[in-house]
């Protein structure tokens, strides 16, 4: 993600808007090294991103692993019907969207705030330390993180201990057995795990802001907060927009591990996401076709959302992905 946006910049700026260089043999010859270098990447994308689309045919069959393609039974939209007509589907979709939106909003706000704060710290050692500590959890797998979350939220865990000591609550709260808390717990775990990592890209964007702008603002008498709001934030706006567009494409990816590992019977109405549903009724039953149908649904939604977000960004005159 980081490389893409960082490396994109010089490429975007070079050609003058509106005017395209005509494609000529001499141009191709000129750029032949570049063209050759892009061949493996192109091959990689075709091989791993386009060829597998062929597998979508499985969604319209009763797919059996050992049979040849010609021997598969075609069933039309049967699996899509099962997916969309199931009583639980709406609930599962609601949970997925809700947790996704919570993660998106919380993730963006906390990461940007933390980046702004870190950017203001002048002592390099202190800044680096905070940054390192805050991004380390990113490298833990969710299995470990959910273990930590479950322990901290246990009835004798640190969260309850602190709240009891502060006399905010009288009885320990069972955070994980109350459905209403579940989305919040998931959102908070995401923030804890990813906030440091997400700030890296904003800090990088901030470091490329022209220092002259700050000096000019200072001469004009801008306070520290004014500089943050009128120099730093506008400076990283293109980055924010690009990241937002890409995240909106993943709106149906509310995550799978967290909900799967933290969920239990008491909170299932809030915890089950599309991925878990597809796992339970698709892959776990050997029904690969249903799993594929679920995948197609998610992809279609993702692409649509991506295009919409991109279009909106274009209307607002912001940087775009496509």
């Amino acid at each position: 993600m980081m490389e893409e946006t960082l490396t994109k910049k010089p490429v975007v700026r070079k050609p003058k808007k509106g005017k395209r260089q005509p494609m000529t043999w001499s141009l191709i010859k000129n750029q032949r090294q570049l063209i050759w270098m892009s061949v493996p990447l192109l091959a990689y994308i075709i091989l791993f991103s386009y060829v597998p689309i062929w597998g979508w045919t499985m969604a319209f069959q009763d797919y059996k692993p050992a049979l040849d393609f010609a021997d598969q039974k075609w069933v039309g939209f049967k699996h899509f019907k099962f997916l969309f007509l199931d009583d639980n589907f709406l609930r599962v979709l609601r949970n997925t969207l809700a947790m996704s939106v919570i993660n998106l909003v919380l993730g963006f706000v906390t990461a940007i705030v933390l980046a702004l704060l870190l950017n203001e710290i002048k002592k390099v050692f202190w800044k680096r330390t905070v940054q390192t500590i805050s991004y380390l959890p990113h490298f833990l797998s969710w299995v470990i993180v959910t273990g930590i979350v479950a322990t901290t939220l246990a009835s004798d865990g640190i969260v309850n201990d602190v709240l009891m000591k502060l006399h905010l609550i009288k009885e320990p709260i069972l955070w994980l057995s109350e459905g209403h808390y579940f989305w919040g717990v998931v959102g908070a775990s995401h923030v804890w795990k990813e906030v440091g990592w997400n700030t890296i890209i904003y800090l990088a964007a901030m470091s490329s802001i022209d220092p002259a702008l700050y000096e000019a603002a200072e001469i004009d008498g801008a306070s520290r907060y004014k500089k943050m709001f009128h120099v730093t934030l506008p400076g990283i706006k293109p980055t924010i927009v690009i990241l937002l567009i890409m995240s909106i494409g993943h709106i149906l990816e509310a995550g799978f591990e967290v909900q799967y590992l933290l969920g239990n019977g008491l909170v299932v109405d809030w915890a089950e996401t599309i991925d878990i549903f597809v796992l339970k009724y698709g892959i776990a039953q050997g029904n690969y076709s249903l799993a594929t149908a679920g995948g197609i649904f998610k992809t279609v939604v993702s692409v649509t959302m991506l295009l919409i977000a991109n279009w909106i960004a274009k209307r607002l005159g912001e940087e775009r992905l496509l």
Binding site: T7, L176, S177, G265, L266, V268, G286
Partner: protein, 564 residues
Amino acid sequence: MGGKSKSVIRLGMIMLLSFSFILAGCGGSDKTATSGDAKAGNEASGGSGEGKPEPFEITAFIGEAGQQPTPDNKIYKKIKDELGVTFKFEFLAGDLNQKLGVMIAGSDYPDIMTGNTKLTAAGAYIPLEDLIEEHAPNLKKHYEKYWNMMKDPNDGHIYILPNYGAYNGEVSSTWYSGPAFWIQKAVLEEAGYPKVKTLDEYFDLIAKYKEKHPNIDGKPTIGFEILNYDWKNWGLFNAPQHLIGHPNDGSVVVNDGKAEIFADKDYAKRYYQKLNEINAKGLIDKETFTQNFDQYLAKISSGTVLGMFDQHWNFQNAENALITQKKHERTYVGLPLVYDEGTRDYYLDRPALNLNNGFGISVNAKDPVKIIKLWDRLIQEDWQKILSWGIEGEDYIVNEKGRFMKTQEQRDKFTDATWKLANKADTLYSFSPKMQGFFSDGNATDGAAQPEEYQAGLEEYDKKFLKAYGFNSYVDFFSPAPENPIYYPAWSVDLVEGSEAKIVNTKQNDLSTKFLPKAILANPSDFDSVWTEYTNEIHKLNIKAYEDRINEVLQWRIENWSVK
């Protein structure tokens, strides 16, 4: 600008390099795989003369995670020296269904594979009945009584050789690994070793003990645990069938060969209402429904849990931890509880034939005759003794009465996993056909089933405990197992992947996972309304499809399994 575009190129180069590495890596592993296969093929096709053993390699897929034996393993070396056979095991790493999917898609099978209905359905095994009739008289004799049961319900062929459950003579064991209401020995000891028969007595004992000892080793005492995590759901689901005196048939109760679900029945309600009642008294762990399996084991290992409904093998590791800590009074006794005094408990069952679980020979095996002949040789008593007990004098001793015993040192070694990798052929033994019961000289086929060996290995605490009850082993707490009904057990019915029956079953489990905790934790006055909601939801499902599938297979078993 210039600097930036240079770094872009550098970045590009790095990515290019790493991709080429990945691609190279893929290609390489492919090559080694095929060359390995070719080698196995060559060796397999080389000669099949009798007498002097020709070197012969068998490749095997084991459908569960495991560890490779050491290269100089004592038993495998003996097999190689005397029978000329070497084994190459591939253990499961990761998800079984995924691995099977890949194997099936490419018809990429080793010589032998552990049983799985997916593989059978894909036609990956060869029929064995003619091979056994022709080349394996000992194997035929071993399975004689069970011959019809081994046949596949769909086409009547034998594909898998069951690894457990073919007994000669009376079944006896000193070890119970199945389901029960477990209770800490300390609770019974303090109550003066009472005989506990009913659910009410059980919870009374726990309540009294917890009241008297609110803390154990400084931590709050937990009265009762119910584990319902992932596929380990029997802690919550399965108890009602046992409480009315039925054996473990999974989620159905079978009467006269007819199965019906019990989740919505009144005797199930009685159990969950009791749990609701004891929860109101604070006996159930508050976190019991949110804990994962590790947390559950951790609680049991701490010695603070007084009781739970579970299968012994499931919390075995936690109990071993208690033994290591020398907290013998915190280990557990299984109690076969029922609702009413007059009901005969049926927890202990006779081991049923372990279908779909041993080895089968794959369609790719070059020389099935040799493989079946190997098993025919290994099923004979001399090899069975080596595989089970080890080498006489090294791993066990024969006392003056001709009984097999172990010294304490040998006993300790048998619980040491590292020692076993070098000195036991456990992978081969556990999935191969095996004698169970007794050898012709009267010794048990398994160390744990040899009564005097079991007694000698008992801890002081347990000796005293059993003496107080006048029992020989903890299995004596259970009523002796009656003869199994011919169709038993219903839980081994293959529901068929993706069928309506399977989906209904999944949905029913989802409902139970959701509603039962709610009902148990509800205010006692609300219990009835939650229960009604729960049963209404169940009745919306097509339960009949599920019951029909089970009954269909039970009927098939009654018709085909009867020993003629």
